[in-house]
C-alpha cells in the first residue's frame, strides 16, 4: 500500500540529499531503516527459520524503495544509506540481544533451544566489528566505506568502483588491506 507514494518520495529525498540537504539524508535513513526491518520480518513470514543475508536485505530494500530500474546515480546514493542502515539495524539488534541475555533470560535460552537455534556469540562479534569499523572510519574513511558497501550494502567490486569513482584495481587493493586490518583488529 505504501509503495506507490513512497517511490516518489525516496527519489525526491535522494535528490535533496545530493544537493546537500542533511535533513533529507536523515529522512532517507529512517525510511530505509523501517524498510529493512519490514523485509526481515517478512522473510520470516515467508519461510520461518530461513536466513537472509545483509546483502539480501539491502538489495531488497533498494528494489522496494527505488524500483529495479532506478537511475544509477540514485542507486549509488541510496546504497550508502542502505548499507549504513543495514549495519545499524544488525548491530542494534545484536546489542539488544546481548543486553537481554545479560538480564538473565533463562526462559529465552530455553526458547532458543526449543526452536532449534543454537545460541552463539555472533552478537558479541558483530558489536566488535562495528566498533573496529568505527575506528577505521576515523582514520581511513574511504576504506571503511568500502567495507560497509560490500558487507552491509551488498555491492560488487565493480559497483563499489563506480560508487566511489575509483578504479576496480584500487577497490581490490583497498578492500584487501581493510579486510586484513579489521581482522587483525578483531584478533587483537
Amino acid at each position: 500500500m505504501a509503495e506507490a507514494p513512497a517511490d516518489h518520495e525516496v527519489t525526491r529525498l535522494i535528490a535533496a540529499w545530493r544537493e546537500g540537504d542533511e535533513g533529507a539524508r536523515e529522512a532517507l535513513v529512517e525510511r530505509v531503516y523501517a524498510n529493512v526491518r519490514a523485509i526481515a520480518a517478512q522473510s520470516l513470514r515467508q519461510m520461518p527459520g530461513a536466513t537472509l543475508s545483509a546483502t539480501d536485505l539491502a538489495h531488497e530494500a533498494l528494489i522496494r524503495l527505488l524500483g529495479s530500474d532506478a537511475a544509477w546515480s540514485d542507486r549509488r546514493h541510496f546504497f550508502h544509506v542502505a548499507a549504513q542502515a543495514t549495519r545499524q539495524i544488525l548491530v542494534d539488534a545484536a546489542r539488544q540481544r546481548l543486553a537481554s541475555k545479560r538480564g538473565g533470560g533463562a526462559e529465552k535460552v530455553e526458547l532458543d533451544a526449543a526452536l532449534g537455534v543454537a545460541a552463539n556469540d555472533g552478537d558479541a562479534e558483530l558489536v566488535r566489528i562495528d566498533d573496529a569499523l568505527r575506528d577505521l572510519q576515523q582514520s581511513d574513511a574511504r576504506r571503511a566505506q568500502m567495507i560497509e558497501l560490500v558487507y552491509f550494502g551488498g555491492l560488487s567490486r565493480i559497483e563499489v568502483a563506480q560508487a566511489l569513482q575509483v578504479s576496480e584495481g584500487t577497490v581490490d587493493r583497498d578492500l584487501r588491506l581493510a579486510r586484513a586490518w579489521l581482522r587483525a583488529a578483531l584478533e587483537a
Partner: protein, 918 residues
Amino acid sequence: MNAPLLDALAPHFERLRALDPAQRAAEIDELPLDAAARTRLTRLLAADDAGGDPLADAIARGAARLHESTSREFGAWRLVRELGAGGMGTVFLAERADGQFERQVAIKLLRGFPTREATRRLRQERQILAGLDHPNIARLLDGGETAEGQPWLALEYVDGVPLLEHVALHAPTLRDRLALFEAMLDAVAHAHSHLVVHRDIKPANVMVATDGTVKLLDFGIARLVEAGEESHRETSTRVFSRGYASPEQEQGLAITTASDIYSLGVLLREMLEGRRDAGDLRASPITPLRLDADLRGILAKATEADPARRYASATEFRDDLRRLREGRPVRAARWTHGYRLRKFVARHRLGFAAAALAVFVACAFVWRLERERTRALAAEAAAQQAAASAEREASRARASLDFLSDAISAAAPDVAMSRQVSVRDLLDAARAKLAARDDPALVRPMQRLLAHLYGDLGDVGTALQLMRDGLRDAQPADRAEALRLAGDYDEYASELGIKGDVDAALDAAQRAADWRARFAPDDRVERLRSRQALALVYHRGGDDERAIALLREALAEAKALPSTPLELYTGITQALAALLATAGEADEALAIAEAGLARVDAERPRESPEHVLLLRSKANAKSAGGEPAEAERLLREAIALQQRVVDPGGARMMELTNDLAIAVNDLGRYREAAELLRESDRHMAGAGIDGAADRAVSEGNLAAVLENAGDYATAIGHYDNAFALLDGAGVGADHQVRRRIEREQARTLGLAGGHARALERLTDLRARALRIDGEASGEYAMLTWQLVVLARNMHRPDDGLALLDEAERLWHALAPAEHPIFLHMRRARGAFALDRGDVAGAERELRAAVAGFEAVGAQPIDLSIARSELAAVRLRAGDRGEARALLAPALPVLREAMLPQEINRAAAERTAQQLGLR
C-alpha cells in the same frame, strides 16, 4: 594505526602479500619503517593469509537472528504456525505457552514500529476494543509489544472458512444469506454503539465458524495500525481495501459509522451476486441470485456515494432487510421508486390517460456509420495489425488491406468511395469475394472487420454470422491483438444483445473485459470500452439501474481522460442519456445530451453521424421532459440529416421513426403515430432486428397507438403478438416489460367492452404490483387508476368512487397537484355523478376539468374530450346552446386523431347527433 600510516603501508602490503613467507620476512626487514610499523605490516599480512571471512559470517548470523527476534515473544502465547499475512501484518496461530488452559488464539503482528507516543495511543485503543463483547465479533484477548517494540494482538481464533468461500461452497438460499448478513449487522451495530468503527470490512475479515456462526474479525484494528503509524507521517497510509472502502475513505476524508455501512453494502452485493459492483469483472465462484427491485434498492441505499444518504445505522439497514424477508415494503425501495416515479409522473403530462409508448434504447448502441468511419476503421485495423510485432501479422495486415481495396475497386472501379456507391454495395462485394478465400489467417480478421461494418449498417443478422465465424478459436498473442479482439467481442456482445441472447452477450462482453484486463491493465480508455459494452448487456438483461450506474462512472472517467476518442465519448453519452430519459430523469438526460452535442459540434461538421446521434438523445430527453412538440422538431431534423448523410434505412431510422411516433402520439395525433410506427417496423425488418424485447416493444407501441386511436380489436391482437414474443424469449411473468404490456392490454379490453376479463386481469396485476413494487409505487397507483377507468366504463359508481378515493390519495403522494391526472380524476367523478343521476355534481366536476385543462395549456385532445363530456351534461340539462358551443371546436380535434369507435369520440358523436352537429 592511523590513516597516513595505513596509506604508507599499502604499497608494501600489496607487494609483499604475493611473496612466500620466507622472502616476505627478509623484505620487511629491509623496509625503511620503524619497528611498530613493521609489526603492523606483519600482522596485516598474516590476517590476509588466514582463510574464511569472519566478517561476513558474523553479519550473516546477525541478519539471521534479526528475524528470530521479531517473532518469539508474545506475552503468554507461543506460536504454533503462520495463518496468513495481509496489509496490516502477519497472523499466527498460537496457544498458551504455559499450557495453563487449552485455548488457541490468533496472534496478529502489526506492521511498523510505532513511536512511544503512538504506542501509548495504541494501548488506549486496545482497551476500547477489548470491551467489545458480541457473539458475532472475534474478541480481542490480549496484546503487547515485542522486545523490539513491534505491537501484537491476541484475538479469538475462529476455526472456519471465510464468508465468500462459505457462500460459494454451500450456495445458501437468499434467506440464509440474508440471515448471515443480519448477524453481521448486529455485530456492527454493537461495535458502533461502543464507538468503534471497523474501517476495513471485507470478505477476508468475516469468517463462518464450523458451527455456522458468522464472526467479524479485526474490529477497529485498522485504526490501531493507523494510530501506530501516525508518528512517521510520510510512511503512514490509511488501512483500507480497495473495492470495499467507501469513497470518503479512499479520498482520505473523515471515516464514520457510515463508512462501515458502505463496505457492508458492497459485501452484501458480493454475497448475493458474486460481484462487488457493476464494474467488477472478476470471475466469482458464487452463483448469483436474481435480485428484485427491493433488494437492489437496499443495496443502492447502503452504497450511496454520499454518506448522508446511506442507512443512518446498521440497525436501520438490518430492519429493512428483515422487512424484505417478511415481505413487507422496504424503506429504501419505497424511497427509490417513489422518488423516481414522482419525477417521471411529473413530466409525463399525457400517457396516464392515454396509452404510453416505449423507446428503443439498446439499438442506440449500434448507432455508428459513416463513410469516413468505414475508411477509418479499415485504416485503423490495418495500422493496428501493422503495429503488431510479428512479421506474420504484418504480412497478413497487408494482405487484408490489399483485399479490401481489391473488393472496393471491384465493386465500383470508377467511383470508389463516392456518394453514388452505397456502403452496403461495397460490403456485399467484399463479402462475396471473401467467401471465395479459404486462408483462415486472412479470412477471420476480415470477417470481423466486415461484421463491424454490417453492424454499423444495422444489418445485425449478417454481422452476427460474420462475427461468429470470425471469432472462431480467436486467442490473442499480444496486447495489440488482444485489444482488437476485445473490440470485436464487444461488437459481438452488442449484436447478441440485440438478438435477445443476453447470456451469450454477457459472456462475450466478459471475455472482452478479461482480455483487456490481462493484456492492457493500465489502459483506461480500453476499460471504458468494457464498461460501455457491459452496460449495454445489463440493459438488455433488464437491469437498467446497473447499466446507468456503469455508464455514469464511464462518462465521468471519459471526461477526465483527455485521450478518450470522440466516438467512445458520444457512445457513452447517448446511451446514458437514453437510459436516464427512460427512467424519467429528463433534466439530467437533457444536460448530458446537450453537453455531448456541444462537444461533437466543436469537433465535427454539423452533418456528422455523431451530431444526428446526439440530436436524438436531446429529442428523447425533451420527450421525457414533457415537451413532445420540441421533440418532434428535433427528430424531424435528425431524420432529415440521417437520410442525407448516412443511410435512408436500418436500425437508426427505425429508432428515429419510433421516437417520432412517440412524440406524435404524445401530441394526440394517434393515426399519424400509427403510420410512423408501421414505417419503423419496416425499418426494423430491413435491419434484420428480431430480438424478442425489441419486437415486443414495437408490437406494444403499435397496440398502444391503435388503442389511443380507438382501433381496439387490432390493438388487442398486437398486444397478443407482444406476449407471444415475450413467451418465446422466456421473459418471466414479473418482468416489467410484460407487466406494462399486460396492463395496457387489460385497459384496452375494458375499453373494447371486455369488462369482466379486464377486471380480472387488472385486479391480478394490482395484487402483484403490491407484492413486487409496494403500495407506494407508481405501478400500484397506475393500476388503481386503471380500475377507476374500468368502473367508469362499466358504470359502477360505488366501486368506482371508492377506488377513485384511493387513487387520488396514492397519486397525491406521487404527483404535484397541478398534474393533469387530477383533472382526469375530476372527469371520472363527473361520470360517476352522472351514473347516479347527479347532473349538477357532474357539471361541477366537468367544468372544473375543462377550466383546468384550459389553464395548464393541455394537449388539444384532452381539452376536447373534457369539453365534449361537459357538452353532453349541458345537453342533458337542456342547455343546447352551451352544449353546441363546447362541442363544435372539440369535434374536429377528436375526428382528426381518433377512429369513430374510440369511446370518447363515439360519445361525442352521439352528443353531436342529438345536437344536430355534423
